[in-house]
């Protein structure tokens, strides 16, 4: 502690340079915090998944439709409690960039399978009564200012029987999902309305959501469902929720590696920047370091002073950057990318990187300080 003023003084000898270096590290750690937060969130995606839900999609591809008639077959598989078919209508509201997803389903079955989606019973009843009705997620409702009773025009690429591609829905309710706000961006509509109105791919779905009683039987039930449709024109792939979600994320590509590559490149550049700053700082202070040695500071003590300076700079900047990332992170949840809080693991990794950065950038100047010959340095040689 008694050396802190000396270390602090060394750090702030060139105030502007230190501030700019500090800011560079802060920005790098903000980037690291947010990207690693997203990566950690993606890796853990599905961790909180429900083990009593299975997903049946086409074995060929997830976008390949399956016959809606499979519903009754799946329902008869032993251990299956409930099934909801799901077709999707992807369109836009007002602007082409305002993408919305309408899930065409049996609303009662779907909400029963997703108890975490909270909707008022009378609103659910209203949806079953209203053919063109829709229950919208709270987030999307907030985003576009929708209220119960509003009629929403959705522009899609799905051709209707009337020759148009414009769909119209009446908002009859709003659901929320407090534990997973990112799931509040969907619209739940009646399958019959959409299926009967669309011109192509009638009688098909893109998935079945299957509720089971005993999660320990999931593997057996998955195999039983897939066996039922084996060697048919539309073979199925049945997975539990975690596998299904992670499979969807894998379709985005290896996001984790991409994010790590970006962060790696940033830190690699930062290493040179910080190293250069510290080297310059030590070079300018050679006579001062020589005086420290002359008055009794050992080589190791001077080395430690320089390394501590590097560690203080890097860890302080990392902490500021990570705290700023934590403040910014909830914004990613609002965009539907990640969670609401920066995982603790990211702080730990960030601080470890800061120490590593300090060591790697601080070692060359620290070694120079270590080898400094007092007489030569005082003579300006």
């Amino acid at each position: 502690m008694k050396f802190i003023p000396l270390i602090w003084a060394g750090l702030w000898r060139k105030r502007t340079r230190t501030i700019f270096t500090l800011l560079s590290i802060v920005v790098a750690f903000i980037l690291f915090g947010v990207l690693q937060g997203v990566a950690t969130w993606l890796n853990g995606f599905g961790a909180g998944s429900h083990t009593n839900r299975l997903y049946v999609v086409s074995r060929i591809s997830e976008i390949q439709p399956l016959p809606s008639g499979y519903l009754s077959h799946i329902t008869r598989v032993a251990g299956v409690r409930q099934v909801a078919q799901v077709a999707a209508l992807v369109g836009s509201y007002q602007q082409p960039t305002n993408t919305v997803v309408v899930l065409a389903t049996d609303p009662r079955a779907l909400f029963a399978l997703y108890p975490e989606w909270r909707v008022a019973p009378q609103q659910l009843q209203a949806l079953t009564r209203t053919r063109t009705g829709v229950i919208v997620g709270a987030r999307v409702a907030r985003l576009y200012g929708w209220r119960v009773g509003d009629v929403i025009p959705i522009r899609t690429s799905v051709l209707k029987n009337d020759g148009t591609t414009n769909w119209s829905f009446q908002v009859v309710g709003i659901y929320d999902s407090p534990d997973q706000p990112s799931e509040e961006d969907r619209m739940i509509a009646n399958y019959e309305y959409i299926d009967e109105a669309r011109h192509f791919e009638r009688g098909t779905v893109f998935a079945f959501v299957v509720g089971i009683d005993d999660p320990s039987s999931a593997t057996r039930i998955c195999a039983a469902i897939d066996a039922r449709f084996a060697n048919s024109a539309d073979e199925t792939l049945t997975q539990d929720e975690k596998e299904y979600i992670q499979g969807q994320i894998r379709q985005l590509g290896d996001v984790g590696s991409l994010l790590n590559a970006i962060v790696g490149a940033v830190f690699f550049t930062l290493l040179f920047l910080t190293g250069n700053t510290l080297t310059q700082s030590v070079r300018e202070r050679i006579p001062e370091l020589a005086v420290l040695k002359a008055i009794g500071f050992a080589d190791g003590s001077v080395t430690l002073l320089v390394l501590t300076e590097a560690a203080l700079l890097c860890s302080a900047a990392a902490l500021i950057g990570l705290l700023a990332a934590a403040a910014l992170f909830p914004a990613t949840a609002a965009l539907g990318i990640a969670g609401t809080t920066l995982p603790a693991k990211v702080y730990a990794i960030g601080l470890l990187i800061a120490v590593g950065l300090a060591l790697m950038s601080g070692l060359p100047p620290a070694w120079r300080a270590h080898r400094l010959q007092v007489v030569e340095a005082l003579a300006g040689r």
Binding site: L6, A9, K293, I295, G296
Partner: protein
């Protein structure tokens, strides 16, 4: 009188480019406890090298260097640093204070290497600053002090750990006549009242006159007392 500094047959050379320069040649020197020795001589005569050997910041090629009861040539780098912290105070021509630290913090530096508490360090620092009459300026940074004041702070830093020996390399070389005189008054007072042994390198005969003994160094050899040479 006990010898604080005892050099026997000390030799030192430097290599500058391809040239080997013999700086000190089989030099013998004894400095008694409480003595104020002035080392004079032309540039390149080896004064500063001799001072560096006595102060333990350089090593001799040959011979023995015994200072404050310790054979410096036998000490490793770490032990030598510890020895310097305990026994030697340095005063440089250009003060060499830490520009970002206040006068107080500069004087405190040698005490950071001791086991003294913060309160004990504060007592010692204040005493050293009072001794050099710089108590009023303790919060000032070097850039806010005159050359003479900076040298006073440097002397306080050199004295704060109560060293056996004060080595001063041209302590008045960067000061005007008045400031130089005040600095020499201070060194005389330290030598007289604290009994600190001082070895001072100087070009200035007036500065050397303040010392209790003067030696002249030429081409790495101690020739004679400066006064005798002048006579």
């Amino acid at each position: 009188m006990t010898a604080v500094v005892s050099l026997q047959k000390v030799a030192k050379h430097y290599v500058r480019g391809t040239q080997r320069v013999e700086v000190l040649q089989r030099l013998d020197l004894e400095v008694g406890s409480g003595e104020f020795l002035a080392l004079m001589g032309p540039s390149g005569s080896g004064k500063t090298t001799l001072l560096n050997l006595i102060g333990g910041i350089d090593r001799a090629d040959q011979g023995s260097v015994m200072v404050a009861g310790e054979a410096l040539d036998k000490l490793g780098s770490r032990a030598l640093a510890r020895w310097r912290a305990a026994h030697v105070g340095f005063v440089f021509q250009f003060y060499n204070l830490m520009p970002m630290l206040s006068a107080y913090q500069n004087v405190e530096l040698p005490l950071l290497l001791t086991n003294l508490t913060k309160a004990q360090r504060a007592t010692n620092v204040r005493a050293a600053l009072a001794l050099v009459d710089m108590s009023e300026r303790q919060a000032h940074r070097p850039a806010e002090l005159s050359g003479g004041q900076q040298q006073r702070v440097a002397i306080a830093r050199a004295l704060v750990a109560d060293p056996t020996l004060l080595v001063c390399d041209e302590p008045t070389g960067d000061l005007d006549r008045t400031m130089a005189s005040q600095t020499l008054d201070l060194l005389e007072m330290v030598n007289r009242e604290l009994g600190t042994t001082i070895v001072m390198v100087t070009h200035d005969p007036l500065a050397a006159d303040r010392a209790s003994r003067r030696l002249h160094l030429d081409k790495g050899r101690l020739c004679a007392a400066a006064a005798e040479l002048a006579a």
